[in-house]
Structures are given as structure tokens and as C-alpha cells.
């Protein structure tokens, strides 16, 4: 199923693009599994996701844990801890 992926801040810079549409295999059921799968897509992806603990996630624009399921999700965003305000 096609999934819209968004990247922000240094995650975007390391990957070299702000968004992409991917179709992970059905075995990818959680955010953590999606990160593992994305990290295997290119050396840039691998570098961006090297330190998993620094990666925050929003599934369909809601902050989510790495353990969260992604079934039915349309948009998953990856970014560092936020620094607004």
C-alpha cells in the first residue's frame, strides 16, 4: 500500500528530499519496522536513521511511538525532537 513519507529538519537534509511515496512490504507493521526498511533503501537513508533514538515520528500528523502500528496510515513523518517556540 502506498505510504506518503515526510522528512523534516536534519532528517530531510541527510536524506536529500522532503517527501517520497513508498510501498513497503506487508511485513512492515510498525513504525520501527518502517524505519528499518527505509534505512535499507539507500546510503543516505541509512545515515539519516543511524541513531534511532533521535528520530521522532508522527503517524497521520499525530505524535507516535516507534512501537506504533502503521496499518491504515496515509502519512508518516520523521524528524528530530522539536525546537519551536
Amino acid at each position: 500500500m502506498a505510504l506518503n513519507i515526510l522528512y523534516f529538519a536534519w532528517v530531510r537534509e541527510k536524506i536529500g528530499r522532503g517527501d517520497e511515496t513508498v510501498t513497503p512490504p506487508a511485513t512492515v507493521e510498525t513504525v520501527a519496522q518502517l524505519i528499518d526498511w527505509l534505512a535499507g533503501q539507500s546510503p543516505k537513508h541509512s545515515e539519516a536513521f543511524k541513531n534511532r533514538a533521535q528520530i521522532r515520528v508522527a503517524v497521520d500528523q499525530t505524535h507516535s511511538a516507534h512501537a506504533a502500528k502503521i496499518a491504515g496510515a496515509k502519512e508518516v513523518a520523521f524528524f528530530p525532537p522539536v525546537t519551536g517556540g
Binding site: 515526510l6 523534516f8 508522527a58 500528523q61 524528524f79 522539536v82 525546537t83 519551536g84 517556540g85
Partner: protein
């Protein structure tokens, strides 16, 4: 409620007047303004000068997140109104990054809600600061102290 995520600069005096005019019968109004600092890190004396800042944002989620925060604040305190304005894009030193205003019959509620909104916004609103100075550009690191401040408001 007035929740805005915008690229354009805004006037904090004008926004304060607008908010007060909309809440004439509220005895207490509290506002917070976060301004762009012109130095790196926490110490004005030792921090390198910052020339510009770029504020990256996740626009759709930012609107939703700020609205969720305002709704949560309204459920916790008796508030007459809330305004939140947050910039994104390029910023110059001394420009306002964020404006939060709360109106209530009582000052304790106005203060608490305003501080709560800022503390949660700091750890939940999807914005990222990139500072540029003489030694180059770098992304601002999140502060552990911000996490600690946000945790104070968690319900047990």
C-alpha cells in the same frame, strides 16, 4: 480562538490590542512572546552571534497540534479565549517567533494556561530552528529542561 501558523512577521502590540478588544469583559489577560535571540546557546556573553534563523515547520500538523493544545488548555482552566501565533520560514534577530495569549476572569488561570501552552508547544509543536552565524549553519538541539517543564503538566 485564534490559531495561526504563518510565514509573515506580526506585530505583538497589534495582536495584544486585537486580543484584548475581543475579550473586554475578561479581568485577566496573560501574554507570552518568544523572540529570536541574536546569540547561540544559553549564554549571551559567550554565544556566537546569530545573523538569521530558518524555522522549518510541518504545516498541516502544526495547525492541528496547536489547536489540540488550545483545546486541552480550555478543558483544564476556565478560559474566555486563547490566541497562538507561530512563525515559520526565515527570521531575523528580535523578531517574534511565537505569541500566546490567554483571557480569563482570574489571573491564576490566565497565567497557568499561558505557561502550559508554551511548555507543551515547546515539546509538541512540529517546528525546528536552524541558526546561521559566522561559523555556519546548525540545527538547534532540543533542551532536556524543556522536556522537564512539559512533564510538570502531565496528568497522573
Amino acid at each position: 480562538m485564534d490559531i495561526r501558523v504563518q510565514k509573515d512577521a506580526f506585530g505583538i502590540g497589534a495582536e495584544t490590542d486585537t486580543f484584548a478588544a475581543r475579550n473586554k469583559t475578561s479581568g485577566a489577560i496573560c501574554t507570552f512572546i518568544g523572540q529570536m535571540r541574536d546569540f547561540r546557546g544559553a549564554d549571551k556573553q559567550t554565544g556566537e552571534a546569530i545573523a538569521t534563523m530558518e524555522l522549518d515547520a510541518y504545516p498541516g500538523m502544526a495547525d492541528k497540534q496547536l489547536l489540540d493544545l488550545a483545546t486541552e488548555a480550555k478543558s483544564r482552566w476556565p478560559l474566555d479565549d486563547i490566541a497562538i501565533i507561530h512563525r515559520y520560514g526565515p527570521l531575523k534577530p528580535a523578531e517574534a517567533i511565537v505569541f500566546v495569549a490567554t483571557a480569563s476572569a482570574h489571573r491564576g488561570d490566565a497565567f497557568a494556561a499561558c505557561e502550559f501552552l508554551m511548555d507543551w508547544l515547546k515539546t509538541k509543536a512540529p517546528f525546528w530552528k536552524k541558526e546561521t552565524g559566522p561559523s555556519g549553519s546548525s540545527w538547534v538541539a532540543a533542551l532536556e529542561s524543556d522536556d522537564d517543564r512539559a512533564k510538570r503538566w502531565e496528568k497522573t
